[in-house]
Symmetry: C2
């Protein structure tokens, strides 16, 4: 093999390598998209690898070429969802007043949760995708922490404006997050269980109004 051959080979090789890598990434994304669709449609627990493979006309084995196991699929969608949530929250940097921004963040968060209950469960209540985590990345939670940091920054700015006197930043943020998450969690739970405490439609809305009154006066 002379130098010309080497160069040509190298160029071709790089070209196809790139394309192959792109195609792999595309199929991976296709699998994730199909999985997400089925998860939303029929629930995570009721969706099988065979379902996912069938829905994109690939074989079971192919799914396992691109994902080590079902948990890795859940894991990837978990990360995606956090990126999505953070994306929706980041838009609110346009709201200058931090207290108004905080209120808006809560509303966006709740809408996100109640509009995508299956994904919300995947993010917060499902245990599976995180067990045996020692294997790979620990950084999928970095996205969650980034969202939490968005909250912290906003609350800090509220404090700078004289709000939340006598409160500590980190615990207060955890409390606020717990409030909002708790509402989503209980509402999603009672929806899937068809057991609503009362006012099925508006209980979260009404409770969030109470929340707004309370933090406005802090």
């Amino acid at each position: 093999m002379n130098i010309v051959h080497f160069l040509c080979t190298e160029i071709d090789f790089m070209g196809t390598t790139e394309r192959k890598a792109r195609e792999k990434e595309e199929l991976r994304a296709l699998i994730l998209k199909a999985a997400r669709k089925l998860f939303v449609e029929k629930g995570i627990g009721q969706t099988t690898i065979r379902n996912i493979a069938d829905s994109i006309d690939y074989s079971i084995g192919t799914v396992y070429v691109y994902f080590r196991d079902k948990n890795e699929i859940l894991h990837a969608l978990h990360t995606q969802s956090f990126v999505d949530l953070r994306g929706q929250l980041k838009v609110l940097i346009n709201v200058k007043d931090p207290m108004e921004r905080l209120k808006a963040m809560g509303k966006v968060y709740i809408s996100f949760g109640l509009d995508n209950p299956e994904m919300y469960d995947l993010m917060f209540t499902l245990k599976a995708p995180m067990e045996f985590l020692e294997t790979i990345q620990k950084d999928e939670w970095d996205e969650g922490k980034a969202s939490f940091d968005l909250l912290k920054t906003t609350v800090q700015q509220c404090m700078d404006n004289g709000h939340f006197k006598g409160h500590k930043l980190e615990p207060l943020c955890f409390l606020i997050w717990s409030c909002i998450h708790g509402m989503c969690s209980l509402e999603i739970g009672s929806r899937t269980k068809n057991v609503n405490i009362k006012n099925p439609e508006n209980i979260v809305t009404d409770a969030y109004d109470e929340f707004l009154i309370i933090i406005s006066n802090l």
Copy 2:
């Protein structure tokens, strides 16, 4: 069969029937106890019917004589756990001041959740035991509602004492419950995922302190 025979038979029949019923109840309770033990030890998802049967030296089939399916076991433990929670909360009627009682209820609730994370998940985050509910009782959530009523009564008494002015009872109660539940849920979630936001040990305690400050001033 004459009248004496009938009476004797009837008496014997009732005697053994009672004993049989008691034995059935005992075995049912034994299965539940074994299931709960295994659930706590190795997690609900990792516990199989075979595990449960083995642990009490009965066969798989026997478990299915006493429980229609795994969901019915989860369902029974779900109800038991709510009875347990309500029992712990009911003790607090001794606390006369409703605001103090409310604070104590939160503490008891959090301890209950963090001390029995697996059972807490079963009560609030697990979907399985409640799906296809149309089959049997809808009343297992009555226990949950009873606990919620305990909260409502206490908050109402706080209102009678001049607290929570400008707030509506039901939404406020839902908000309070969401706060406490949210803390438990997030804490349990981050524990099982070995991913803690910060101050792993005390974040809930610190956040609950913030909660106390806030509601004390309402």
